[in-house]
């Protein structure tokens, strides 16, 4: 049996987990103080995932950039691919939290959505 030491990242507690692995499958997780730790331990060994956050430029808005995130977690191995796919993408004001910014990013089946409201910049006319 193989053991893998992990630190749970589900919350700030940061529990020290031990995952016991048999035949490539997690048979037991110990050290967790809640059910989320158990689920994290199993997933982290077999298919680690992360939420990716970044920013993209926004045209005509009160801010020049709008913050974005993957709508759910994506495989850890896809993080840089996701970042590359975001390069070159622009949003246009107005943007509301939850608006789709990029569909099916890096073929993960997950969309990238806005995490900030950006209003249209009202340009004042002279005279």
């Amino acid at each position: 049996m193989e053991r893998k030491e992990l630190i749970c990242i589900c919350c700030p507690m940061g529990c020290a987990l031990t995952a016991e692995i048999e035949n490539g499958e997690v048979c037991r997780v110990t050290g967790n103080t809640c059910p989320r730790g158990d689920a994290y331990g199993r997933k982290e060994v077999t298919n680690p995932t992360r939420i990716v956050t970044s920013v993209v430029p926004v045209r005509g808005g009160t801010s020049g950039m709008v913050s974005v995130k993957t709508a759910s977690d994506i495989p850890k191995g896809k993080i840089m691919e996701c970042m590359n796919a975001l390069r070159g993408i622009q949003a246009a004001a107005p943007v509301r939290i939850g608006d789709m910014i990029a569909e099916n990013i890096a073929d993960t089946g997950v969309d990238v959505i806005a995490t900030k409201n950006v209003d249209v910049l009202q340009r004042r006319c002279g005279g």
């Binding site: 990242i9 919350c11 970044s54 009160t62 950039m65 995130k69 970042m83 939290i97 995490t115």
Partner: protein, 425 residues
């Protein structure tokens, strides 16, 4: 201009305080915010992990801020953006300035200080060398990348492993920079454990403990830094120097509450937190002036800022209600709350058994990493609380609850002491 309550700073603390005050019957509230939007530092904290305690879901900084901003808007709380409070007086007159309105004065019946904190700059660090471009505080770099959309450099060394340093290590790596190392003077990281996993381990960024920067090379632009190991007193050890080429040095070396306004009216400050001394009502040493959030003591988690600030808002509302109904400030006797063995500080610093609620949260930090120890609270020599904790670290704020019914018998105690006790074998 007259207001019942003026709140200085529209970040997470100011927003939560304003909402709680409004919900507790204060009508005329004004938030002064010097940025062009509400939300404070959350606007540049685009990473996720906020709100697990408050909303039971994981939000990014801007999303967390938006929840509070929308609520404040719904409640009709007034705020002024691009407006800087210049000074306050003991009788709660606020002088502020904005490009739109010029300089103006507001008379307030109560004030809440929620100005947040500032990063400790390079100047506070005694690193020799020239002053080349390419040295940034981590928060400045965060603003450049996340708000302005500029990358401050390509090859990065980070000094300090507090949460902002860790978060920026990942952020720079995501944007294609090579983050060569995070150096930490202390034998432990100052950041949350989960940030070490998802910001450093995920990106194969090494963390070097007991290490500092002893020299910065480059005259126009940073060309490299020299790292050295330090002894137990934090002094560099000769012969351990290692030169690391880089074009950028980020400093994440601590946050300091920004209390210039508080000092102006003689608010008593705690020399450990550098924030105001407050009682169980979040009230400073000046009557009617309250403090909450990072201006009071630097937090790790915004959820606890919101919680603490809501208390300040509620107590300010109570104070205003008492004032309206003609109740003058009663003579209240308070017991000092003392940071005992292993504890750096406590917030609050005093408690009135009569005026406290059924439960009082006392927040504190431990002095160093502790395993299998107890958090104990004593009223004089009587132990009231004794809770086992598997691990405690200075980087993670702790709390302990005091019960009114337990303290009733100790109204005349000389002190209430929070301390760490070793497990008895």
């Amino acid at each position: 201009m007259k207001k019942e309550l003026v709140i200085i700073g529209g970040g997470p603390a100011g927003l939560a305080a304003a909402i709680a005050a409004k919900e507790n019957g204060v009508n005329e509230i004004l938030i002064l915010e010097r940025d062009h939007e509400l939300g404070g530092i959350l606007n540049q904290c685009i990473h996720n992990g906020f709100g697990l305690h408050t909303f039971q879901e994981e939000l990014t900084g801007p999303e967390y801020a938006a929840r509070f901003i929308e609520k404040a808007e719904r409640l009709g709380i007034e705020y002024k953006l691009n407006t800087m409070a210049l000074s306050i007086t003991k009788d709660r007159k606020v002088t502020a300035v904005s490009a739109k309105e010029g300089m103006f004065e507001i008379e307030a019946d109560a004030l809440i200080l929620s100005m947040g904190c500032r990063e400790r700059p390079r100047g506070a660090l005694q690193i020799p060398g020239y002053r080349p471009a390419g040295i940034y505080s981590a928060g400045t770099a965060q603003k450049l990348v996340n708000i302005e959309g500029y990358m401050p450099g390509r090859e990065v060394v980070i000094l300090g492993s507090g949460d902002i340093g860790l978060i920026m290590a990942r952020r720079m790596a995501l944007e294609g920079a090579k983050v060569k190392v995070v150096a930490e003077l202390m034998p432990y990281s100052g950041g949350l454990k989960r940030n070490i996993v998802q910001c450093l381990s995920d990106f194969d960024i090494p963390l070097r403990l007991n290490t500092t920067v002893v020299d910065i090379a480059g005259k126009e632009r940073v060309e490299g830094v020299t790292l050295a190991s330090v002894d137990e007193k934090g002094r560099p050890i000769a012969g351990t120097e290692e030169y690391i080429p880089c074009d950028t040095l980020l400093l994440s070396v601590g946050l300091i509450p920004e209390n210039e306004l508080s000092k102006g009216i003689g608010v008593a400050l705690n020399h450990v937190t550098k924030g105001p001394v407050v009682n169980e009502r979040m009230e400073t040493s000046v009557e009617g002036v309250y403090a909450c959030g990072n201006v009071l003591h630097v937090h790790d988690l915004v959820d606890f800022v919101s919680e603490e600030a809501a208390c300040a808002g509620r107590y300010a509302a109570e104070y205003l209600a008492e004032k309206r109904s003609g109740i003058s400030e009663r003579e209240v006797s308070r017991i000092p709350v003392i940071a005992g063995y292993g504890v750096r500080y406590t917030v609050p610093s005093s408690v009135s058994v009569d005026r406290m609620e059924e439960l009082l949260t006392v927040r504190f930090r431990v002095k160093d990493v502790r395993r299998n120890c107890f958090i104990s609270v004593y009223a004089d020599n009587k132990r009231l609380v004794h809770i086992k904790r598997p691990v405690m670290a200075p980087g993670e704020m702790e709390k302990v609850m005091l019960k009114k019914k337990e303290l009733q018998a100790y109204k005349t105690a000389d002190s209430v002491t929070v301390k760490i006790e070793e497990a008895e074998d």
